[in-house]
Each structure stands twice: as structure tokens, then as C-alpha cells.
Amino acid sequence: MPEAIISAERLGIRFVRNRRRQLRLREMFIHRGGRTVRPTQFWPLRDLSFEVFPGDTVGVIGRNGTGKSTLLRLIAKVLIPDEGRIRVRADVAPLLELSAGFSNDLTGRENLHLVGALHGLGTRQLRRDFDEIVAFAGEQVERAIDTPVRHYSSGMKVRLGFAIISRLPHPILLMDEVTAVGDAEFRAKCYTTIDRLLAEGRTLVLVSHNENDLTRFCKRGLFLDAGRLRVDGTVQEALDAYQAVPR
């Protein structure tokens, strides 16, 4: 049996609702804090234990606000758990916020190089693959590659972002409804790319509400409800459990 590539042990994270970001003088002196809402703690995720092995394709299913995206961020190590621990034994390609890191004032070309490098792509590889990346992002982006990203539509930014991040050689892919963006043509391209990456043996963790995407890409399913892991089985079992919960 191979070693788990992601393993979570009694993982939990606590958020604080209604935390005051500002010490308002008015509240301090006039209302003396009497009118403010008390901050309350809640656990978007708690007591999660699971293992993911290399090559697994895992769909994370659950209603809104049940900690699915939080789980992705914990795997991406951009959140630090308050309880338990999570081990990730390989690099992660975060297809989460595809246009994150773009600077509006810089051109598409400059952003491609900077964001690609931040994600860990080498300068040589970026130069070599430049044309392919831009071609993948589509004709619109190709024409605007030397204009500032400020003038891009949000779809264009997302396409360029996807084109860059899908180049990463990292073994783990994290996706949060990526296929929901872009037009039909671009979606088809995304599907082909993801199929190719999975055929290479990458590990996928996909958060989605789209049943077709889940059954298409994932074999395994995790069903989260109220921050707890209810089902860890096949994607069909998880979907059945999800649909069985009264809404």
C-alpha cells in the first residue's frame, strides 16, 4: 500500500463570527459596548480524519457553508488548523482563485511571468511554454497580452490564470468549481486538460455542486455536513447521502 499523499487527523478549525475589526470611539464612549453583538465561535470543520492516496480523485460534497472551501484551504496550507493536524506530502497546484496575484497595472505578459514564477514555474520553462500558455488562454487574451490586465474581462483573467496554474507539475490539484467559469468552449478545454492531468496520475480534490463534474472526474466522495465528515466512500455514496439530507 502506498503512503497517503494527504492525511488529516482529527482536523478542526475555529472561526470567530462578529469579531470587531475596528475599535470605534463612538462605541467605546457612547454605547460602552452594550450595543455590540458578542463575538461567537464556531467550527466550520471539526474532527475530520481521512487519507488521500496518490492518484485518488476526491469530490467534496456538501451544502453551502459546510466547510468545503475551508478544507481546500487547509490542504493548500493557507489556513492553519486549531485542532488535529493535516499532512500534505507533495506540492499543491491551487486552482482556487485563478486570477489571484495579478497586478492590474501590469500587462498580461508581465503577469504571466510573475505569477508563474510565484507558483514555482522556472523562468526557462515559462519562456519556452509562453506561446502555448497564451494560446490556451484564448484568442482574446492572445491579442491583449501586452495591455494591462486592468482592461481584461474577468473571464479573460480566469482563463489566463487557469492556463498558467494548469502548467504546474505539482502532483496535487485543488479545484473549487473551476469549470463554472468561462464560456462553453473554454470549459471544454478545461475538461480536456483536467482529463489529461488525471491520466498522468495526479491527485485531485474537487469541491463542486455540479453532479456531472463530480461523477465525471471523481471516484471517491467526501460528504461534509455541518463541519463533520458524514460519508467517506465512492462519489455515488456521497452524492446519495447529500441528496438524502432533508433540506
Binding site: R19, R21, L79, D82, P94, E97, S99, S103, D105, L114
Partner: protein, 275 residues
């Protein structure tokens, strides 16, 4: 702390890229580009020269000592170093909040964002050094100053200043995510620091003033006092801080770095949730 430094070192590429991007964004839109990083301090120097070098020249010259004949050089030396300080502290507040989406997507040591801001502003400081050297050369040729071994003080000044600024930047950037009031506080802080540091006036003016002893002591607790005395002592060896002031400065800078690092580490989980 050691693991933090190590992880920062292994991701130094990311740091380099962030600094590059920072500078590219800053100078992308302006025609004069890099010249702006010189025009601003030179203009400020001009203003202070007019006030203290021309209008109050008698009082100023009395306290300047060896710098009496070269007040513009004294001013520019201080102001160039101050521009770095001011920009680094002012930008610390936004170092994390302005990059929120990147930070919540990409797994890099979060320290590189505030450290990167300090480094980018340091790059601008370095870009100004040739101008400073040119002005100094003019005074040296005129016989007003005679630079020598004292030039070696510059690396010491820069090292201490970098430690202090990185410490402050880590501290303020993390605090600002949790408490947005910090941003306003910083504006007040930088203005206060500018006058509470011997930048445009000589330190001896404070020492020989009639201010009460406790106030002078409080003044010396500001690590920037010693750092700017080191900057001035590059050209004017008499300005080199005495042992006591040097000790305060070193302890203050190292302490700020350790405190900033520790606070940043402690607040990191909460900061990531807030972003």
C-alpha cells in the same frame, strides 16, 4: 525563528519576484519612473535647507559642528535614509491586506510579504546612493569633508535599520489585519518619528537643549536616533554614537526584529482566517 528564517531563505525566489513586481507596478505608470525616487527626497531636502540652512542659518550652523559647511549633504544623507524608513513603515499596514487573495491561495511563508515591502523600498534607497555619493564627492573636492574609514559605518547603519524596519513591518502588517485602526496610527507614528529623530537637525541640538533629563532619555530610546547618527557619521565621524547610544540602538533593532517575528508567528493563524 530559525525555521522561519530557513523557510524564508528557501523561498527567496518568491521574495525576489515580489520585490520585482512591487517595483514594476510602482514605476509602470509614471513617465519619470525611477527619477521620482530621487526627486522627492531632493525636493524635501531643498525645503528644509531653505528653512534651516537659510532662514535659521545662524542657529543651525552653531550646532552642526563639522557639518557646518555642508548642511545640504547632512540633510540629504538623513532624508534618503528617512525615505526608506517612512515608506517601509507606511506600507507595512497594507502589506498583507492588499495581497489577501494571493495569500489565501498560494502557500508561501507569509513573512515574505512584509519583508518584501521593506526590501523594495531598500532597493530604492540603494538606487539613490550614487546621487548621495556625487553630492559627497563635490563637498570632498571642496575640502568640506574628508571621507575615509568612516564610510564603513554605512553597512552597519543599513543592517540595523533593516532589522528594525523588518521587525516593525512584521508587527504592524499582522496587527493591521486584525485591527484596522493601525493604519491611522501609523500615519501619526511616522510624522512623530520624523521629528523625534536627528534627520534634519543635529543630535547635539537635543543633547544641549534645556529639555528635562527624562525627556532626553526617552528621546534616546528611539532606535532610529542611533541609526541616523550612524548614517551621519559616514561623512562626519564626530557624530558617531557613544557606547550607550549604540547599545540602545543595537538592542532596540534586534529587539524589534525578534518581537515582530514572534508576534507575526503568533497572529498568523488568526490573520489567515481574517484575510
Amino acid at each position: 525563528m530559525t525555521s522561519g528564517v530557513l523557510s524564508l531563505w528557501t523561498r527567496r525566489d518568491s521574495l525576489r519576484i515580489l520585490v520585482k513586481r512591487d517595483l514594476a507596478v510602482k514605476y509602470q505608470q509614471s513617465v519619470l519612473g525611477y527619477l521620482w525616487s530621487l526627486i522627492e527626497p531632493l525636493a524635501m531636502g531643498g525645503i528644509y535647507y531653505f528653512v534651516f540652512g537659510v532662514l535659521y542659518s545662524r542657529d543651525t550652523n552653531r550646532h552642526l559642528g563639522e557639518a557646518a559647511g555642508s548642511y545640504p549633504l547632512f540633510l540629504i544623507t538623513g532624508i534618503f535614509a528617512w525615505m526608506w524608513t517612512n515608506a517601509a513603515i507606511s506600507e507595512a499596514a497594507k502589506a498583507l491586506t492588499s495581497q489577501a487573495r494571493l495569500i489565501t491561495t498560494l502557500n508561501v511563508p507569509r513573512e515574505i510579504f512584509p519583508v518584501g515591502r521593506v526590501a523594495a523600498r531598500f532597493a530604492e534607497y540603494v538606487a539613490g546612493l550614487p546621487v548621495l555619493a556625487a553630492i559627497a564627492l563635490a563637498y570632498a573636492l571642496g575640502g568640506k569633508i574628508s571621507p575615509g574609514w568612516s564610510l564603513l559605518v554605512l553597512p552597519l547603519a543599513i543592517t540595523l535599520q533593516a532589522m528594525l524596519l523588518i521587525g516593525l513591518s512584521l508587527l504592524l502588517s499582522a496587527l493591521n489585519v486584525l485591527m484596522r485602526d493601525i493604519e491611522r496610527f501609523i500615519r501619526l507614528l511616522t510624522r512623530l518619528l520624523f521629528y523625534a529623530t536627528p534627520i534634519i537637525y543635529p543630535y547635539s541640538l537635543v543633547r544641549e537643549s534645556s529639555a528635562p533629563g527624562w525627556l532626553k532619555f526617552a528621546y534616546e530610546l528611539n532606535p532610529l536616533v542611533g541609526i541616523f547618527q550612524l548614517h551621519h557619521s559616514i561623512w562626519y565621524p564626530d557624530e558617531f554614537p557613544d557606547t550607550r547610544l549604540l547599545l540602545i540602538t543595537v538592542l532596540g533593532s534586534v529587539g524589534a526584529l525578534l518581537l515582530g517575528w514572534w508576534v507575526f508567528r503568533r497572529l498568523e493563524p488568526a490573520v489567515l482566517k481574517e484575510l
